[in-house]
Subunit: 370 residues, 2 copies
C-alpha cells in the first residue's frame, strides 16, 4: 500500500475539478503552526480575499474546516434553535438536505417544493415568507443536482421585514457565476472550495452578515456543536479574540485556498463568470447534434454545471464508465428522480475552457461511433 | 497576496509537526473524483491501515472529514441523545471540551475532576460508573494540554456491565504511544492526523465497535448533524452501502493520510512507540540541567508531548517568541491553569528524533547564555 498511483483524469463531473499547478504546489508547502504569525497573516489574507469573491464587507467571512456540507451545517447550527420556523425552497438534493438538517436541529420546517430542473416559485416563496414569518428562509443559488440557478436578489427585504434571515447556498456558484452577497443583502452564504474556486475539497467558505451575527449573539440555547460554534471559532479567527485555541486549522488546505483565491482575483470575477458562461454555451451547442438537450430552460441555468437530457436508448452508466476508465474523463450522472435520465457536466474554475469541452465532445463522438 | 512564502520551521509544539517529504509529495498529486474506483480503493486501503494502527478489527473505522475536534464530535453526536448520562474524566482542555460538548447535546454530564497534570482517579471513575450507569464513559488517553497519559485498559468491562460505552480520545497518542482499541474493548476511539501520524491537520480517524454501532442503530431521535451522521457516512464509505453521495471527500488529505499510514506501518508500531519514548526521555534528561522539570510523574507521561515546569524567573513568552521568530523552532505554552507555568514540547511522529532534541536544547542553551 505504499506508492500512490493516481491516473490522469479530466474531471468534468459535479466536483472536484482539476487543480491549477499553482494550487497543487501550494499544497506541498511545509507546514506552519496554526498560531504562527506567518500563518495568521495568511488566514487574514484568505478572509480578505473571500470577502472580495463573495462581494461582501462582512467582517465574519472565513473558511469552515470541512467540506461544503459542513458550511451548510455551520449556517444552520449557529442560527437555528429548536422550534424555529424554517422555509426551504426544495427542488434538488441540496434543498432536501437543508430541510433535513433543519429537521435534525428541531426546527419547524416548511418545504416549498418545486420540480427538479426548474427554479423555485418566487411568488410562492414570498407568500410563505409573509404568512409563516420564518426565522430562516433558505435557497440554493446553484443546485448541483439539477443544474438550476436561482436568483437570490430581491428576497432579503421581505425576509427581513418578516423578522427572518436569508440563507443562500453558493457551493457551486461562487467564482463561477455572479455571487453578490451585499447586493443580495443575504445573511448567511456558504460555499465549497472544490467547485469554481479550483481548490481541493475540504474547506467551506462562509460569510455572516452583521444581522446574522446579532441573531447568533441573541441565542438563548447553546449551539449543539463545538466544532462549528461561531462564537468559539471567532475567538481564534478574530485578531481581537486573543487567538485562543479552538481547533487546529487545516494548514495545507488554507495554503491551497490562499493560492486559489489569488488566481481567481488575478483573473477577475467578471472575466471568470464570462468564461463559465461561454464554456457551458459551447458544450450545449456542441452536444445538441448528438441528441443531448438541456434539462433547464435558459435563464435558469447554472453555468458551472450543465445538466443534459440523454438521447433515447443511451446506455448512460456504461458510457460514463467507459469515459472514465478508458478515456480518463469523469462526468456525473443524475441523482434522485433524475438518476439515469440526465448527465451532469461540470466546467468549473480551471476546467471551464474550450479545449476541455472539445476533448469531451470528440471523445463522446468517437465512443458513440459518430 | 500571490506567492506563499513559508519560512522553514521545526515544529515542536502540540501539533502539527513537520511532514515527511513523502507526505508532502502525496498532497501534490492530482485530484480524483470521490466516486472514482481508484479513489475508492485508496479509501478502502486507508480504512484497513487505520484498523492496523488502532489495533482493531472494527469494520467501522474511517477518517472523519474534519480535524480531531470533529472526531470528538462524531463520537458524541452519534451516540448521545438528550437526557443521557455521560461521565467524563476532566483534567485538561480536552476533558473539559468533551464535557462541554456533552452539555451542548443535552446530556446529563457528570464531570470527574482531577488536577491538571495528573492522571484521573481510576477508583473514583469506576465508582461513578457503577453508581451513575452512564450511557458514555469518556476519557482522554493523551491529554495534549497537560502531557498526561491515562490508561484505558480495564475500564470497558465495568462500563459495559453498567450498560454504557467507553469513549477514548487518542488524538495525541495514536501512532506515538500504545493504542490497542480491541484489547481495551473501547467502543469509540478518535484521533487526529497532525500529531504522531505526521499528516496535515484536517482528518480525524475514528473507530466504532460493533457494540457502539448497535447503540447507534437503536437511537430513537435523529442525529443533530448531517455531516457527521454515521448512518449517512456509511452509505458512502461502506462498499455495501451503494457508495451514495454524502459529502465530497477531501481527496488530497486522503492521499496524505494514505501515505502517512504506509510510513507508520513500514516502521512498525512498536518501533515507533519506542522512538517516541526515547525522544521524550532524551529531552527530559537534556533540559534538567537548565532547570526544567517534568510536570507529570513518570508512569503518567504522554511520550509524544512532554510538559515541563519552567525555571524560576524565565520570560517564557518572550523566549518562546524568540525561539520561533529568530530560530524557527515552535514550541507550545501552557493552557488554562497552566498558562505561563509550563512549556509543551511535542516530539511527534516524524519529529521524534534525537537530532531535533539536540537542536532545541542547544538553541535554548544559547538563548539562555548557558
Amino acid at each position: 500500500m505504499n506508492a500512490l498511483a493516481i491516473p490522469p483524469r479530466l474531471l468534468l463531473g459535479p466536483g472536484p475539478g482539476n487543480l491549477p499547478p499553482e494550487v497543487l504546489a501550494a499544497l506541498a508547502q511545509p507546514l506552519l503552526g496554526h498560531l504562527d504569525p506567518v500563518f495568521l497573516t495568511l488566514v487574514e489574507e484568505v478572509k480578505e480575499m473571500l470577502r472580495r469573491v463573495f462581494r461582501t464587507a462582512n467582517p465574519v467571512t472565513f473558511p469552515v474546516s470541512g467540506t461544503g456540507s459542513a458550511g451548510m451545517e455551520a449556517a444552520l447550527v449557529n442560527l437555528l434553535q429548536p422550534g424555529d420556523r424554517v422555509l426551504v425552497a426544495v427542488n434538488g438534493v441540496f434543498g432536501v438536505r437543508l430541510a433535513n438538517l433543519a429537521d435534525r436541529l428541531g426546527a419547524n420546517t416548511l418545504r416549498l417544493e418545486s420540480p427538479w430542473g426548474r427554479a423555485f416559485d418566487r411568488a410562492a416563496f414570498l407568500a410563505a415568507v409573509a404568512s409563516e414569518r420564518p426565522r430562516l428562509a433558505c435557497l440554493v443559488n446553484g443546485e448541483t443536482s439539477t443544474g438550476v440557478w436561482q436568483d437570490p436578489a430581491g428576497l432579503a427585504g421581505p425576509v427581513h421585514a418578516a423578522g427572518g434571515l436569508l440563507v443562500v447556498d453558493c457551493v457551486t456558484s461562487l467564482a463561477g457565476q455572479e455571487v453578490a452577497v451585499d447586493d443580495w443583502q443575504a445573511d448567511v452564504v456558504y460555499a465549497g472550495t472544490q467547485k469554481c474556486l479550483s481548490c481541493p475539497p475540504g474547506l467551506a467558505p462562509v460569510t455572516f452578515s452583521p444581522r446574522a451575527l446579532e441573531a447568533f449573539r441573541a441565542r438563548t440555547q447553546p449551539v449543539p456543536s463545538f466544532y462549528l460554534d461561531l462564537g468559539e471559532i471567532l475567538k481564534y479567527l478574530d485578531a481581537g479574540g486573543g487567538r485562543a485555541y479552538h481547533h487546529t486549522a487545516p494548514i495545507s488546505m488554507v495554503y491551497a485556498l490562499h493560492q486559489a483565491l489569488s488566481l481567481v482575483l488575478d483573473e477577475g470575477l467578471e472575466a471568470r463568470w464570462q468564461r463559465h458562461h461561454d464554456a457551458a454555451a459551447q458544450l450545449i451547442t456542441a452536444l445538441a447534434p448528438l441528441g443531448f438537450t438541456p434539462l433547464v430552460p435558459e435563464g435558469e441555468r447554472l453555468h458551472p454545471l450543465t445538466t443534459l437530457k440523454l438521447p433515447a436508448g443511451l446506455d448512460e452508466a456504461g458510457l460514463r464508465r467507459r469515459l472514465l476508465v478508458e478515456e480518463g474523463i469523469e462526468i456525473g450522472g443524475g441523482l434522485g428522480p433524475l438518476a439515469g435520465t440526465i448527465w451532469r457536466i461540470g466546467l468549473m474554475g480551471h476546467n471551464a475552457r474550450p479545449e476541455h469541452v472539445e476533448r469531451l465532445v470528440s471523445t463522446l463522438k468517437c465512443l458513440l461511433g459518430r
